[in-house]
């Protein structure tokens, strides 16, 4: 090997990399559109809670069970919206943390997303079981005729399965996706 090259410092070799130019206008356009999208998504996240405002604005008469149900739904919706806004904020401004903290928070984010997907997956099949169970109990309690009751249960089960199966598959795929990402990042960090 050429003597001069052999004596090259790592810094010299590093600086000899070929680099490319970039179009500043393109970047400005891309960044503006990204910023607009982020603001739009945050607005949508917040607006998704607006149906609950109707309950407070109009004096809608509800049973205690329904009030409890809507309160639980509102609280879980609020938590989800805060989580989404936090993720969007991290995506937009998290880059300014030091690299160790950033990598760790990204890893935690992947792990949390995998956990959420896992919960969603189990909620999917569990809701089918609960609904079919509840429908069966109502049929027994109401003491209805056997054949129409079976027919009703069949329809309910079919609808629930049609809705829940893709949901569970999607959630499972998402869980695997984030688990693999987390594992890959973890291996790169350790």
């Amino acid at each position: 090997m050429n003597k001069k090259l052999k004596n090259d410092s790592l810094e010299n070799i590093w600086q000899q990399q070929a680099t490319h130019e970039i179009d500043l206008d393109d970047i400005a356009k891309l960044a503006s559109s990204l910023q607009r999208k982020q603001r739009f998504y945050i607005a949508l996240d917040i607006l998704s809670l607006s149906p609950f405002a109707l309950l407070f604005l109009f004096d809608i008469q509800l049973s205690f069970a329904m009030k409890l149900f809507f309160t639980c739904l509102f609280v879980s919706g609020l938590v989800t919206v805060f989580y989404f806004i936090k993720l969007r904020w991290l995506a937009a401004f998290g880059d300014m943390a030091n690299t160790s903290n950033f990598a760790l928070s990204l890893l935690r984010q992947y792990q949390n997303n995998a956990r959420i997907a896992k919960i969603n997956k189990h909620l999917g099949w569990l809701s089918v079981v609960i609904c079919i169970g509840a429908a069966t109990i109502f049929q027994i309690v109401d003491d209805v005729e056997f054949t129409p009751a079976i027919k009703k249960l069949g329809i309910i089960s079919f609808i629930m399965l049609v809705v829940a199966t893709p949901w569970c598959l999607w959630a499972h795929k998402r869980q695997m996706h984030f688990q693999t990402k987390a594992e890959y990042l973890k291996n790169n960090l350790e």
């Binding site: 790592l10 070799i13 000899q16 680099t19 880059d95 943390a97 990598a103």
Partner: protein, 172 residues
Amino acid sequence: MSQSPPLFESVIKQYSPLLFRVASTYEANTSIQQELFQEICVSIWLALKTYKGEASVKTFILKVAHNRCVTHIGKEVGRFKSHEAADAASLADQSLFSEKLSLENEIERSQKVQQLLNAIRRLKLPARQVISLSLEGLRYEDISEICGISVSNVGVTIKRVKEQLRNEIDHE
């Protein structure tokens, strides 16, 4: 269209080679390298809107660039990493552009650059970040601030990794 941050144009003009080198530290495929470079610039555009001058611009943008690249690492999952093909193409590109030096010298130089890049890409993330910042001539204090590790840790990492890189390059 919203207005670009005041520093953006001068920052990119001054530091685009450095930012491109950050992208190449994480990505071997030349076309994806370009995309990553673009993503880094977009992140800097957004981040500069909140820049208040607490750190030097160079330190600030390097932090943003490396963090963007860490996010990019997650995207590598499931993608076929054609390092060898990409390296060969990149080598061919690089060996064609210069007429100033002899062809032999130029090819040797390109090979060395490629060997160094390959060796750096094989490092774990924290070591990769520290060494690439060091090769850009940053002070230990600045590297410590960007990476969130102690100055002494920076020194130890640089010494260990440089030795490892020299060995790898000499043996290849």
